[in-house]
């Protein structure tokens, strides 16, 4: 009998959530789910358990929640005492502080919530892998669509939150990378309630952009962006954080067997799967796949395997997912979608690359200043 009735090997995962202040937004239409990310990890854990029962492999996950103002490092230390694998939902600063703990050396951490480019660049850490797509991967994906549609002349409105500024910077980089031109930028500095007067204010606000092909919104906290659509002075498409968006995951993805993951997730959690859920799912499944194939549970062996050519994850995106061995980023196609349907999946046809077209998205090997993986 190859079916083991007991587990010979148990892999322990710590799920650490460091709560971050959520900035107020004009609309309360789309609350962020309380278990954003965690729900994805739980679905990944269930998938691993089903597979593991045929191999004598078990998985357990301990969840630690750090409220605002509490000590994230202490919580991380506690988790690291029992698990060498952490799935982390934290901002970039907290993530780096955790990765630099003595207790975290030789452990393997998964970043599932910070899209910051520098975490994959100069500030990379050898013990951190990123299953969340970087901001740059998303803005590159969108830029490919802009190129394909010949929407060459662009303007941008950006918010003032750190996430907005980071996204706007990634967007500028992508526009340069793909030869597109940014003809104008404006900062969103309104403090009025746009639900009442968007139809009066936005046309005037966008009037002095002149003519352009598409308007980019950098509003990652989803504060004002939703009020810009259909209110612009020029009749032009809106892209970026609203309208046509580039995302790591979306409920509208149904191809490549994705409908199965979506329905499994919905059944378990009674809501749609978000990009952060997907990143956490991919992190837990990566560990499952590595244990399944190597029959090992030490971080050294699993890290080597995960970064090797042997590793591949079937991630419901139509292609095998692998990790970049220069910065620990999960290579993955990026969906370019509106809330009702998938429009394209990047990399788009025609965007060639000498080794893997997926590396036309985000920081490629020659661009990355990450040295920790060498």
């Amino acid at each position: 009998m190859a079916t083991a009735s007991f587990a010979d090997t148990t892999l322990s995962i710590g799920y650490l959530r460091v709560e971050q202040p959520v900035p107020p937004t004009l609309s309360n239409l789309d609350p962020i789910p309380n278990d954003n990310g965690l729900a994805g990890a739980q679905t990944g854990l269930a998938d691993n358990l089903t597979t593991g029962k045929f191999l004598g492999h078990a998985y357990e996950m301990t969840v630690a929640d750090v409220a605002e103002g509490e000590d994230a490092l202490a919580a991380a230390r506690t988790l690291l005492a029992t698990s060498r694998y952490l799935v982390i939902d934290a901002n970039a600063d907290d993530l780096l502080a955790i990765a630099d703990l003595d207790e975290a050396q030789g452990a393997l951490l998964f970043n599932t919530s910070a899209g910051n480019l520098d975490l994959r660049d100069g500030a990379c850490r050898a013990n951190v892998l990123h299953t969340l797509a970087s901001d740059a991967m998303r803005t590159d994906a969108l830029a490919q669509v802009l190129v394909q549609k010949r929407w060459n002349d662009l303007v941008m409105i950006f918010g003032t939150h750190a996430a907005d500024i980071s996204y706007a910077a990634a967007m500028r980089r992508s526009l340069t990378k793909f030869g597109l031109s940014l003809e104008g930028e404006k900062e969103w500095a309104f403090d009025a309630d746009m639900r009442r007067n968007a139809s009066q204010e936005v046309p005037l606000f966008t009037q002095d952009f002149g003519d352009y092909d598409a308007l980019i919104i950098a509003d990652e906290v989803h504060d004002f962006g939703r009020y810009v659509l259909y209110n612009t002075w020029q009749a032009r498409p809106v892209v970026g954080s609203e309208g046509l968006t580039a995302v790591g995951w979306s409920p509208v993805i149904e191809q490549w067997g994705a409908a199965q993951l979506q329905s499994r997730f919905e059944e378990e959690h009674a809501r749609d799967m978000t990009a952060q859920d997907y990143a956490a799912w991919a992190a837990v499944r990566t560990l499952g796949e590595a244990l399944t194939r190597t029959n090992a549970i030490d971080p050294e062996t699993l890290r080597t395997y995960i970064l090797s050519d042997e590793f591949e994850l079937a991630g419901f995106k139509g292609r095998p997912l692998t990790f970049r061995d220069w910065n620990g980023q999960l290579r993955q196609p990026i969906a370019v979608a509106h809330p009702r349907a998938l429009v394209a999946q990047a990399p788009l046809e025609g965007f060639l690359h000498q080794t893997n077209e997926l590396d036309s998205l985000g920081l490629d090997r020659p661009e990355s200043k990450c040295e920790a993986f060498q």
Binding site: M1, A2, T3, D47, T50, T51, K53, F54, L55, G257, Q260, S263, R264, E267, E289, T292, R293, E312, L313, A314, G318, R319, P320, N356, E357, L358
Partner: protein, 320 residues
């Protein structure tokens, strides 16, 4: 064009007017193609999201997995009338009919279960826990072994049909999609969509005997994704659908080498042959058509428009 006309004339004078039945996943219909005229001669309505399709031994019944209706429908192929539904477990996707012509082994994609249904008593006789997202189903010619492949667990699960219990679980590459027993059941083949490979098992020992990789010129290896496959007469060659690379590979079943790639429609998925296996009909999901391949010359000779997202294909002789 002249050559094509000549060939079609030849076919129409020698072949019986048999049929290929194709399920259209996003139209909730089956299209019936005449192997004589190579045209759709009938379209019947089915339950929601029809995928797997299989005929009873005497071809008097056709079983259809209506995935989103959570049922296997039993249709009279002469009238297109749904006679009754069989309990199937949730989200039936693919199935096989046991050589006893009675037991259907059904993959329940959403539930990580294989359901065994008795088509006579219309009762579920067993449910077997398998890996996440079971899909590919096969049964050995002697009826002793059934196989379920699970897409996310990446395994072939070997079921003893006597006890309805698993007796082996073998890892394959990512996202196994389809399984077939060949050479009188001595070998069992499994395709891995994301892994891009076919694994050949020795049935007696459940050990890997060979692994086959594909390479289509001008297509990135990531997009060469083997899914459905069928064997030519005498099991000499396998015809393997390579999904989004839009090709069928012809694999020599003795040497495990690839001899040809045939360009077909977009996202080629499953297939079946006509009676003497001189023609192969492939379902092309994205282009919404069926490609007819002349097996001897290994050339695509016709595309036949069917419904949206054609998925399964099954042959039916019409006799007389």
């Amino acid at each position: 064009m002249i050559r094509l006309t000549a060939l079609l004339t030849l076919l129409s004078t020698t072949a019986v007017a048999d049929e290929i039945w194709v399920t259209n996943e996003k139209d909730d219909t089956v299209s019936v193609i005449s192997t004589d005229t190579l045209e759709v001669i009938k379209t019947y309505e089915t339950g929601e999201r029809p995928r797997g399709i299989i005929f009873s031994k005497d071809y008097s019944r056709v079983y259809i997995c209506a995935s989103d209706s959570n049922a296997v429908q039993v249709m009279d192929p002469n009238s297109g009338e749904i006679l009754h539904e069989l309990p199937s477990g949730d989200d039936p996707e693919q199935f096989v009919l046991h050589p006893n012509d009675r037991h259907l082994y059904i993959a329940n994609e959403d539930d990580a279960i294989t359901t065994v249904v008795d088509t006579e008593t219309r009762k579920v006789i067993a449910q077997i826990d398998v890996g996440v997202e079971p899909e590919g189903m096969a049964v050995s010619p002697d009826g002793k072994i059934a196989i379920t492949t699970s897409e996310t667990t990446n395994m072939a699960h070997w079921i003893d049909t006597e006890t309805q219990e698993l007796f082996a679980n073998t890892l394959v590459d990512s996202r196994p999609r389809h399984a077939e027993f060949v050479k009188e059941g001595t070998e069992m083949w499994v395709s891995s969509e994301i892994g891009g490979t076919l694994t050949v098992f020795d049935t007696a020992t459940q050990t890997e005997k060979a692994k086959i990789s594909f390479e289509v010129q001008g297509v990135h290896p990531d997009r060469v994704q083997p899914v459905g496959f069928e064997f030519a007469a005498g099991d000499t060659h396998a015809f393997v659908a390579l999904g989004p690379s839009n090709h069928i590979a012809v694999v020599n079943a003795e040497t495990y080498e690839i001899e040809d790639y045939i360009l077909v429609g977009r996202r080629v998925w499953h297939m079946d042959f006509n009676a003497d296996r001189s023609m192969l009909f492939t379902t092309n999901g994205v282009s919404g058509d069926v490609t007819v391949i002349d097996v001897a010359s290994r050339k695509a000779i016709k595309s036949i428009k069917v419904g949206r997202f054609p998925w399964g294909a099954a042959f039916r002789p019409t006799g007389s």
